[in-house]
């Protein structure tokens, strides 16, 4: 099965609007899913400046799916879904 790819946006907008608190995902995800999932911090994903969408930050991408106002729980749920859990 293809690996799930998770990008946590650590661009300034997302960081200020809450991804500072998502950094724990970068340690938590590998512990939880082993090598089924790749996770990394990312520079600005370019989503915050489209139509001034800063208010929906922080953004996380799970493969192609964009998670708005991301929280640790939302991201884990999205990963579970991808893995068919």
């Amino acid at each position: 099965m293809a690996k799930v790819n998770v990008k946590v946006c650590l661009g300034t907008t997302c960081f200020v609007m809450g991804s500072a608190n998502l950094q724990e995902l970068i340690e938590l995800v590998p512990r939880k899913y082993g090598d089924q999932v790749d996770v990394a911090g990312s520079p600005c994903l370019g989503l915050c400046s489209i139509d001034w969408e800063f208010s929906k930050a922080p953004y996380v991408k799970v493969d192609d799916e964009v998670i708005k106002e991301a929280t640790v729980e939302k991201v884990l749920t999205a990963i579970d879904k991808k893995l068919g859990k």
Partner: protein
């Protein structure tokens, strides 16, 4: 005690408002744009995420905007238009005196503290609750314990003895978090801050699940000077280096980019503080035989001493804070400059109010919002050099234990202080301090470092980064910095 776990939804809301306010002020239609903020955040037909209806949501957002404009929410009249308040904010000469204000419309959703019997009550035969209550306030009626709230003193004895753990104490989070009893809900369910008692530690801000305690922002006042083309200098607290995903030099560039004319590390002043405080420790404790000395750099602790423990004054170091020396240096070199202290906490606003060399305070959340408003990506900024270097020890003031360690670094082997750290002020810590002052001794050490926020300044109530990451980032910077002996000669 938990360290700086920001209430995510409420800080998201507060930051969103700041971004919109800053954008509005930097645009051409400030007053009208401010008026529209609640409507833009909750447009017609949008979901109502938190309250009963869209109108209440907007009303509450309006009140939050008032705090963002730097005014007291309680004092503003309901009939006053946001656009008028925006105009007033721009005309204001001086920021308001007390840094905190309460959004009472958000806080009446939480009930006054009281003892509550839950459904778990079995109406048992033993009824230990009845016999434990010294006020005759609890009786079993119709097979269930009931509390007479007229008589109940909230002592919680009944809860302790209940074999089913069926009785709980409902707390008011802000009351519970305040170490000095300065915030309370009265009979009518209205919460009030007693500014005579308040030490501006900001614990209520982080504790309130409704985000009802607001900081009055000075961001409009600061931008006003920048717009007027004045020379505005950023004095950044050591904790800032742990806040954003970039290097300290990129951060300087980012701050220049939003309009400041220079950036100086408050660690420069922390080097002066360290030198003076270690000399003072030697003189007072080692040579003078004083039983102990406390540090003096935490603004909330200094307010605590003034308002609640004046008897500890003779034991507190008379050395100025890092912000004090930094501002002195800047104003001496450039008396015409406007100085802005970049702060991790609320308490520094009070310190600034009492120091004519510090004109304004901008907290890290506000700085973050400013970057968002202007689309500044800090990680993409070039690096700008700081004109004055500071030491590893000074940069480490931002974390618990850092101040005491810095003082010790300048003391000789046989003079080293035995440091005791109060890591986060709470009621127990305050009791200890009172005891040390009263007895004129402290068995736990002869240098007491007091940090109002658990973890130190990087755990402050206006920080952005999560504690663990912040500690890591700060540590890396400290490790790359010169030793204090190379800076302080």
């Amino acid at each position: 005690m938990s360290i700086n776990t920001p209430n995510k939804q409420t800080s998201h809301l507060k930051r969103e408002i700041l971004v919109r306010l800053i954008r509005a002020y930097l645009g051409d239609n400030f007053e009208e744009d401010v008026r529209l903020i609640p409507f833009e955040m909750r447009p017609k037909g949008s979901e109502v995420p938190f309250r009963c209806c869209i109108h209440k949501e907007r009303a509450i957002l309006r009140d939050r905007v008032i705090a963002g404009l730097g005014f007291d929410i309680e004092e503003a009249q309901d009939s006053e238009l946001l656009s008028d308040l925006a105009a007033k904010a721009v005309k204001r000469e001086q920021p308001e005196e007390h840094p905190l204000t309460l959004l009472q419309t958000a806080c009446n959703e939480c009930v006054p503290a009281r003892i509550h019997v839950t459904d778990l009550c079995q109406g048992c035969v033993a009824r230990p609750c009845e016999s434990a209550c010294r006020f005759g306030a609890i009786k079993v009626v119709d097979g269930k314990s009931r509390i007479d709230h007229e008589k109940c003193k909230n002592c919680g004895m009944c809860a302790q003895v209940c074999p089913f753990q069926a009785i709980t104490k409902i707390i008011v989070p802000c009351e519970n978090a305040c170490p000095v009893g300065a915030i309370a809900k009265d009979e009518d369910g209205l919460t009030k801050i007693d500014h005579e008692k308040c030490i501006s530690c900001g614990k209520c801000v982080s504790a309130c699940p409704f985000g009802a305690v607001h900081k009055k922002s000075q961001v409009i006042d600061i931008i006003k000077h920048i717009k007027a083309g004045e020379k505005v200098i950023a004095m950044v607290a050591p904790s800032i280096m742990a806040q954003l995903p970039c290097t300290p030099k990129q951060l300087k560039q980012a701050i220049l980019q939003i309009g400041f004319s220079d950036v100086i590390e408050v660690a420069v002043g922390a080097d002066v503080t360290t030198k003076k405080e270690s000399d003072e420790f030697k003189e007072r404790v080692i040579e003078g035989g004083a039983p102990f000395m406390t540090t003096s750099c935490c603004a909330a602790y200094n307010e605590l001493v003034e308002k609640h423990i004046p008897e500890i004054k003779p034991y507190r170091s008379s050395t100025g804070t890092p912000a004090y020396y930094t501002a002195e240096i800047v104003k001496k070199e450039q008396p015409e400059a406007i100085t802005v202290f970049f702060s991790p906490c609320v308490a520094k606003r009070r310190e600034a109010m009492q120091n004519p060399n510090i004109d304004y305070v901008l907290n890290f959340e506000e700085l973050g919002a400013w970057f968002v408003a202007l689309h500044v990506q800090v990680a993409e900024c070039d690096e700008a050099e700081y004109s004055q270097d500071s030491s590893a020890q000074a940069r480490n003031f931002a974390i618990t234990g850092g101040v005491a360690a810095a003082v010790n670094s300048l003391l000789d082997e046989n003079e080293k202080a035995n440091a005791y750290v109060i890591n986060g002020l709470d009621k127990a810590g305050i009791r200890d301090l009172k005891k040390f002052a009263k007895n004129g001794k402290c068995e736990l050490g002869n240098l007491i470092e007091v940090m109002a926020c658990p973890g130190g300044c990087i755990g402050g109530s206006s920080t952005i980064n999560s504690y663990k990451q912040a500690a890591k980032q700060l540590d890396a910077y400290v490790k790359s910095s010169p030793d204090i002996k190379e800076i302080v000669k």
